[in-house]
Symmetry: C2
Subunit: 323 residues, 2 copies
């Protein structure tokens, strides 16, 4: 009998969340541990193994589990390692897929970065079901991407393809990005980028704004959203500007792979049409003629609280190809 | 017995060149007709059919021909049509693959644009033999690209993917491009772009240059090359500037698909290291850290006079998949 479940593990800097998932994308049993509590990777894997054992038992034992998928920052699909992840406690190259497989008595484990996991999640359970050519853009603290071409995730020759948060959208006087370069999309279109745009506009402009009641350094993208919904013009302009830059970048992405859809995923998508509408307008305005009005813009259809675990779990259905 | 030959047809605005090619990439028999002489597509296909019949007879008859590949501007792989090609005499959507197949008694015909044909040519006979992930950039009158990921050419959902000449490299005060937008890579890194850079530098600068002996409007990229080789500093700077912009763009392309190699193809590559050296320097300087010093820059290995026909012919080895 075909094994009916997979496990998804989402590793973040603060929490590691995991769950047993069925073929329809329902999370049946779940758990979590604190990533940051384990300075030694061996202690972490042991604690994770204990947590996994609980949900595996609830699901009826490991014979019910087809595979485990892991979404992790700097995760390399080709070798199953986390490589030099700046926001995780462990240094260097960690063969995490192998370690988790060993800890769970040999369940096959596949690992990739969180944005790629999101793309596979959308294809398996979400907005990209039935699509062969699409790009998922994750808009959170940073900007990430998972690119699917001809039904396959693009890993590139080294496993690190799809860093669309780090294409350059402003070559002159571009903002400093966390990667050390200037003008990256991530420096403008992430939650942090929105907050930076807010600070800049508050400093360079004089009109009234609800945002002026807050300490500039502590403004978050949520504050900007709340103010925009209340009709604050400056806050609406911040989403307009952010959307315009995203749209410019998307027009270039379309010139690369001509996807059927671009799917927006992650915290910033809570802004809804406040963000989507200017993205769409800007993307079409900047598009090469041959591509105009062909590429759909969609929101993720994965329930936000579950999205990361679902995305990772979708990898568990893949039988990893030998290279 | 496996059929031993394919035919490549390269359709340009001026000439249509074709040839019978063997598995090693040797052109055995070739011919050409004047594209511009035929305002009616039916007359063109008939004349082309006569020319093809000659080379097919020389090769021992049509049973020796496995397939015909066509490289044409605005050629759509999915439907075998040339669609609204601005530099060809025929308007609208022309089902050329079907027409050529009918004219040659049913030989299967596959069609794509010229840059995609170049990429398949490099993979079959040239610098990309054995590579699964690479990008060919064609530097001619315009800038085109053929993108290969996981051993497959990227066509996108509509057949038009890979328009990397039209990503935006200068968002502020960008040059007007032939596509009607501003700041495209093609406006800077094509042969025409090099000539425009020459004009600009001659106008805005005062130092001596061999180029000042020429009429500014008539300077070609070859003039710039000839002067640069003779030690002309301004001409060397033009290649430096062109290479720098190409390198910036390449760093973004690598963030997308992380290719093992980027292969330069076309007329402008005659500039050799004058162009390659600044491209490489700029690409590495602008690269996201994770990709640094991983992607090779190569020149095409197809003999220039044969490259277009070879590239197109390589499609003839493909059995077109049903969609």
């Amino acid at each position: 009998m075909e094994k009916p479940y997979v496990i998804g593990i989402d590793i973040g800097g603060t929490n590691t969340v995991f769950g047993v998932v069925d073929a329809r994308g329902t999370i049946l049993y779940s758990g979590s541990i604190k990533t940051g509590h384990y300075d030694d990777i061996n202690d972490y894997v042991k604690a994770l193994g204990d947590g996994l054992q609980n949900v595996i038992n609830s699901a009826g034992g490991k014979d019910k589990i087809k595979g485990i998928g892991v979404g992790a920052p700097n995760g390399n699909y080709f070798n199953g390692c986390i490589e030099f992840a700046p926001n995780l406690p462990w240094k260097g190259k960690i063969p995490l897929a192998q370690m988790i497989s060993d800890q769970t008595g040999g369940i096959p484990v596949t690992l990739t970065n969180d944005a790629n996991a999101a793309a596979i999640g959308e294809m398996t359970y979400g907005a990209a079901r039935g699509l062969k050519d699409f790009i998922v853009i994750t808009l959170g603290t940073g900007v990430g991407s998972g690119i699917v071409i001809g039904g396959n995730l693009v890993y590139g020759h080294d496993g690190f393809a799809g860093e669309l948060g780090h294409v350059i959208v402003r070559r002159e006087n571009g903002r400093l990005c966390g990667c050390g370069r200037h003008g990256c999309l991530e420096a403008y279109a992430s939650a942090t980028g929105v907050a930076r745009t807010a600070c800049e506009l508050l400093m360079t402009r004089t009109e009234e704004s609800l945002l002026r009641e807050l300490e500039p350094d502590k403004i978050t993208s949520k504050d900007v959203y709340d103010a925009a919904v209340k009709g604050d013009k400056l806050s609406q302009e911040i989403f307009e500007t952010t959307g315009a830059i995203l749209g410019e970048a998307f027009a270039d992405f379309v010139a690369f792979s001509s996807p059927e859809a671009i799917i927006l995923f992650g915290g910033l998508t809570k802004a809804g049409q406040l963000l989507m509408e200017p993205v769409k307008r800007s993307m079409e305005a900047h598009m090469l003629k041959v591509f105009q009005n062909k590429t759909r813009l969609l929101f993720s259809q994965l329930k936000e609280s579950d999205a990361a675990v679902l995305g990772a779990s979708a990898l568990g259905w893949e039988v990893k190809e030998e290279l």
